[in-house]
Symmetry: D2
Subunit: 308 residues, 4 copies
């Protein structure tokens, strides 16, 4: 079983794959971009993809969210979370004073801004497609230093010049595991998450936002994330990426999804899967599966009576 | 077929029965009170009852609403509306100056307050169980005058001393036709009304009110009336009497009713029936029966997929 | 100082006046109706009026609410609550079997319905303007029995034939003390109530209801009562009678009132006064007077800056 | 007067500065990043900065929004909009088949993805800090081609190899003009926009979102944008960047801002300025300045009365 991931080796995404505790027969395969990893699953080159979804520093990862929301045959099957800790990697023998160029993914720069300003104020930043790529270029002598996870040092034969160079001690990134939509989704547990993309009919963004929030609220479904993303059509035209508590097979989630479907131009279901942040599903009184079933039986009986 | 109505002969309710345009075989039977007319249907003495439900001057008729909401086996099957015009009835030869006592139902007094103050400021008001009863007492010489509809004059052999003595030119009363719950309800038209009584779980009246309004609003079901009534248990304990647009067999009304059922302690369905005020059912985009059905199919397909 | 009350002597309203613990120089003066008692204050015949406002059995007292809401120069200055216990009063020597006619205020009949059905199923009910009046007619031999408070027996020289004949053990009535609007209102305490009548612009009753509830909710003002009443203009035209927590001088109540004023056709302030049900004012975080004042200073500073 | 802008020469931001129609004495000064341009104003090196704020393709420009929201002494004073049209620039004599490397800002790649896939499927993408920088590297022979506006060709002495290579015909970017907060803001017009950053107290993102939307909605203030951005503290901790219709000096905007201030941990006002998208401010009945003033006078009068 092949797991496509945002490579190359030495990226946080590879560490995320490792954290999944997969069986021996799983083979991680690096891809040069999020889009490439997802395309590999779509094309049948890989059975699963692991890509970053949301960072506590930079917010949702738009490449992932936009690709999945485009609705092309993939579903989220799981998630994992990884604390993000950066190190400054360099060739053996390099001193901090020798570093004239530093490379890494743009997010690495964003997450280490203060450290760079304090310790390498004059070094030139050279954006790279990934931190692993930056480490590779250090190994090849094309960059003096790279921002990457410590685990990348061994992979590329370079050294840790400085550890824990990230500004925020609590930085965490959430990764998702993606499968073709033909594969059955994980069954409900008591702590699931459902991801969905909702495309508005017209352009009334804030009014629609209130309407969408109400569809969830009235059925007691808590949202954990709602983010608007441009559809690209025109300034101010958006779709919403939504994470809510619960599973598509839960009655209250199902009714909320139907409500969403009726008020939106299009709704794309992106998956129901166990959450991995330690939280459970909050069920407000009146919104459990048995209460939905009891209300449905009551209505069915009434409707039978009135036709009697 | 017997129609129990709030009698005696000569009341507005009798005029309401007449306005129904019933077949020749229908026999109106007067009863001394709203409760007695409804009890007659429950007991099988009559097949239908016609009772007042709401007045443009005094609001909902609490005796009717409370009796139906008590949930004892009756359903509303229809409605009719009647303009309310009062006359002052007296024995032939009576002049206005001769009138020392005036009788009628307390609502008659309420609706003719200004005229009485202007023309009979010193007459004693004698409350009666009905306007018809007041007219009868005039005929028998026990009262000098009665407030009643002009049609009562002929029934009791008295004269119209003054016509149109009501303060409000536009006064209208809505009457309902009630049947045993075992009788099939009228089928949906495009202009129906559904009546329901919703009993709260706890005592949080205004919070519950917002919750109830939202259950209807999110499914695009317009309310035409919502009134709180004391349950009698304690000060501030209420139930809600609700009239909404549409029929229990409409998808959006059904889902709203299920939502109401889940957030309330108890919900009593009082009937779905054609409305007679000239209005139709407003259907907000996204809330028609086909749209509900399409959303349900979409969800069912999704759920099949995720189990595939 | 004269206190007009809904008389005659022997009514629950007289007992409510007594419960106020007024000074010796206060003189209670009975009036034949709620309207007459209120008119007495308006006309300067009395300094205060005490009238029933809400019953746990019958709901709001529409004569009081409609009169105050008509906006004719009165304000509520206080409230009191009285448990309602009925007795059957008769002349000395009367046995239950002798009772052919029973009188009282229509609410008395409503509150003793079960007892009457069980013990006097064949007695004729004779509606009276008040329970005190019914007791007086018993004393004069014109009625066999009256429903009234036990305290009425002594006033009219009749006996208690049966005590505690009311169906509901917890029946309570709330009375209000009313003064001319030129008299200063009670200062804020930490447990006040504010009463207001809100008249809609158009006829959209349920939509307006949601809008009104939101004006209070967004400022964290809890409602204890909201009741719609017909304006009398036409079927379905209503105004809202509202009791909310807090005092007109509280910042959050003031802003809610201004909001109400802007969305309604007319708003009539009926008074702010200490509540007497043992409850206090709930203040949601962000809605205290200091928080309103801090936000106002912040905005004023910002506006100064942008003009700088 | 110096205008710092996101340089170098030849970027869309420079074109945005030109579109402002500024006087001859204005001198545009390029800066290497959005942060550097904003810092220049803060440091007094420039009087104004022009930076991109929102793109119809990629959404809000997080570097701009996060920097302004950090609350460090800047205010938005104006906006401008520019259609975004990309060309492929190359040295004279270069044919499409010769292009092995293409450079540009990452957003350029995002906006020309389809064209690149169709016409240069095998070219290597080399991310640059700006499109102008990419054009410069083409001129210096370090890149074969650059994605940039046509206007950059003249600046760098290169040629337009292909025009209109962007995927979306309607791509527009909105730029803002930023000034130190000590400078007076533009006075209200009838078509203003107000930008604000709202930081939540706790972590309840979707609940807070509903609360924030309601604070605006109840005062009839339309939102044109609301976006959540991570605060960087932890996964799921967000602030909201909000654009609403109207000016801080409008009564309804002021009251909404005070409401926001009370429900949020912190609110940062980012500026009120004329909008440049052709739209005007929608004023719902009941929310105009005169209506706010009338309600305030009404309340003040009432409060005087109750103290009389």
């Amino acid at each position: 079983m092949r797991y496509a991931y945002l490579g190359p080796e030495g990226t946080f995404t590879e560490a995320a794959v490792a954290s999944l505790g997969l069986a021996a027969e799983v083979r991680p395969v690096p891809y040069p971009s999020i889009g490439a990893a997802l395309t590999a699953v779509r094309a049948g080159e890989a059975e699963r993809a692991v890509v970053p979804m949301e960072s506590s520093v930079e917010g949702i990862v738009t490449a992932t969210v936009d690709d999945l929301s485009a609705g092309n045959g993939l579903r989220i099957h799981g998630e994992t979370r990884l604390p993000i800790a950066f190190a400054l990697l360099a060739r053996s023998g390099t001193a901090l004073a020798d570093v004239k160029t530093v490379g890494g993914h743009p997010q690495a720069q964003a997450q280490c801004r203060q450290w760079l300003a304090a310790h390498l104020p004059n070094a030139e930043w050279v954006a790279q497609a990934s931190n692993g790529e930056a480490a590779r270029q250090v190994a090849e002598g094309r960059l003096d230093a790279a921002l990457a996870g410590e685990f990348a040092a061994g992979k590329y034969g370079v050294c840790v010049l400085a550890a824990d160079v990230h500004d925020n001690r609590n930085a965490v990134t959430r990764f998702v595991v993606v499968a073709p939509e033909a594969v059955a989704s994980p069954a409900p547990t008591r702590a699931d998450r459902t991801s969905v993309a909702a495309f508005l009919r017209g352009g009334d963004h804030p009014g629609a936002l209130m309407e969408i929030l109400t569809e969830f609220a009235v059925r007691g479904v808590n949202l954990s994330t709602i983010q608007s993303r441009p559809t690209g059509d025109r300034l101010g035209s958006y779709y919403f990426f939504i994470d809510c508590e619960g599973h598509i097979r839960d009655a209250r989630v199902g009714e909320a999804m139907m409500g969403l479907r009726r008020v939106c131009g299009e709704v794309r279901f992106l998956g129901s899967y166990p959450r991995r942040d330690g939280g459970g599903t909050h069920v407000r009184p009146g919104t459990s599966d048995p209460e939905f079933a009891a209300a449905a039986r009551w209505l069915a009986d009434l409707r039978l009576q009135v036709r009697a």
